[in-house]
Symmetry: C2
Subunit: 291 residues, 2 copies
DNA sequence: AACAGCTATAGGTGGGATCTATACCATGAA
DNA sequence: TTCATGGTATAGATCCCACCTATAGCTGTT
């Protein structure tokens, strides 16, 4: 299958003239003559009638042209599309994360990325960490943002952010903010935490478990905003990422409760599939995140 | 533009394996490797990820594949179609002629042709001789069948049939059939002829004009069938193609009126466009007619 | 008759497509 | 660990053929 013959045919059919086609193709007229002859022999039909004033396409040539015309249209479109993808003038990136990671750590990056590459569409997929890893493995998302640690041999992991956890209270329990207290003492107060399935909660559970303590929070919520509100109005001690309450702390709406032991930092990571290349757009966004 | 690269890409994308693609393409693996590399360089994007167990197509490669897949589908279809045309398994022939030429001289050929090539569609276009020549020049018909002579430098003419003209009468004017009469005498009887625009009529006009006589037929009709009927019931002397009334003559329903001079034979010709090739199907039909 | 504009043919040449051979790399089994 | 397997990349040589130049040959025009 020699496709270049079809290219010669295509241009010749447009020009109805071997010599002009040759010029357009940057080859010589005998080459066109030869190529058309080859194609005619291969297909077994005459494609052009040679006249003294150029050539005229035959009926069969016309039929062939209808198809070949589309062929080169498609190739043009394809090359155009690839060029757009390459130059980040089109394409999309699908990112998976929990609502809170997306909202608090991803959104600012998405905004600056969109300013720079307005034609790249950013899509978000919500899910828990295992769900995100699953979507990643199924090719439903390009990259994920999850709380660490994770354990999946198929996954390529890059640490992204390090966040501090702390306990905060509102005006009502302000006196706790002055002294270092132990986890055990804390159990005497109502605890506000994320719901059982969240990674924040399992981190908290682990914290108590290491002291042989069992946690049973009075209040379980599903969003950072609600958690902060609950703490503010004095419903109890809230376990929260420090970076997310810095405004409330500085305004004096919330007060930090210091533990008499150090809480380890938690890490947020970017996950991609091992051995699977990111699309140009996804790769660009990935690098954008790591800047 | 090297289209063969796309062919290598296409097969490789189907196989996800350079070596297997090479086998299918009847080339070696290094050639595939080289071709893909060339295409990647040309497009400026990576198309495949090389892994130890073959290759995996990238996102951009996938996008390209969607188009290229269609491209090769089209080429396959095109080659299929051309092959059908070539082998007379599809296609059509459009023929132009007057109703009577079509009916009396063409129809038998059409039937036998359709038996032999049932998938070739035969289309008929009706019109007067000048209209037929016009349609031919505009490419609306592949070939025409017309009464001669014609005068058109663009037209390629082949004589097809030679027909005799004669005068016939029914029972009523039977006595005329015994003697040779002159054209002048004939004017004493009602004449039945085709309408003014027909070539049969202009032939008849010429016949009289050569003798300095002017014809003014009492009855003008538009079809051979009607003309024969008029003659049969004794409305006058009909000018008619002899071959079309042979049955009536032998049955004794009509009687031939002999002129004291010889009427020239008329010719029917096949016309095609000069310098324009017939399609395979049209050419086949043309040859079928001349057999 | 000469010209202009086109295609076909002949024959020679160079570049590049393709090949062979081999390196190299990852994976899985012994 | 070592070896075998199955894949891709690279190097270098070969040789074919795609393309070129030159020219013939055809047709319609000036």
């Amino acid at each position: 299958m020699n496709l270049d013959l079809y290219h010669v045919f295509y241009v010749t059919a447009l020009e109805n003239n071997f010599s002009k086609a040759a010029t357009k193709l940057y080859i010589t007229q005998p080459s066109v003559s030869h190529a058309i002859k080859q194609l005619e022999e291969k297909l077994g039909v005459q494609l052009f009638i040679r006249t003294s004033k150029g050539v005229a396409i035959t009926n069969e040539g016309e039929t062939l042209f209808e198809y070949i015309h589309k062929v080169f249209g498609l190739i043009d479109t394809a090359e155009q599309k690839i060029s757009e993808l390459k130059n980040l003038e089109s394409g999309h990136v699908t990112i998976g994360g929990s609502d809170s990671t997306c909202k608090h750590y991803l959104l600012p990056y998405i905004q600056t990325f969109q300013n720079e590459f307005p034609n790249i569409q950013i899509r978000l997929q919500h899910g828990s960490t295992p769900q995100i890893l699953d979507k990643l493995n199924n090719g439903r998302i390009d990259l994920g943002i999850v709380h660490l640690p994770i354990n999946d041999s198929q996954i390529q992991l890059t640490e992204f952010l390090s966040i501090s956890s702390t306990f905060v209270v509102g005006e009502k329990y302000k006196e706790l903010a002055n002294k270092n207290i132990s986890l055990e003492e804390m159990l005497n107060y109502p605890i506000i935490s994320f719901s059982e399935t969240s990674s924040s909660r399992s981190f908290l559970n682990q914290l108590f478990l290491k002291q042989g303590l069992s946690l049973n929070p009075e209040i379980e919520v599903g969003s950072v905003e609600l958690l902060i509100e609950c703490a503010k109005i004095g419903m109890g001690i809230a376990f929260v990422t420090k970076e997310l309450v810095s405004k409330e702390l500085s305004k004096g709406e919330l007060f930090e409760v210091y533990l008499n032991e150090k809480i380890e930092k938690r890490n947020i990571g970017l996950v991609t599939r091992k051995n699977i290349s990111l699309s140009v757009a996804a790769d660009k966004f990935y690098k954008h995140l790591l800047d």
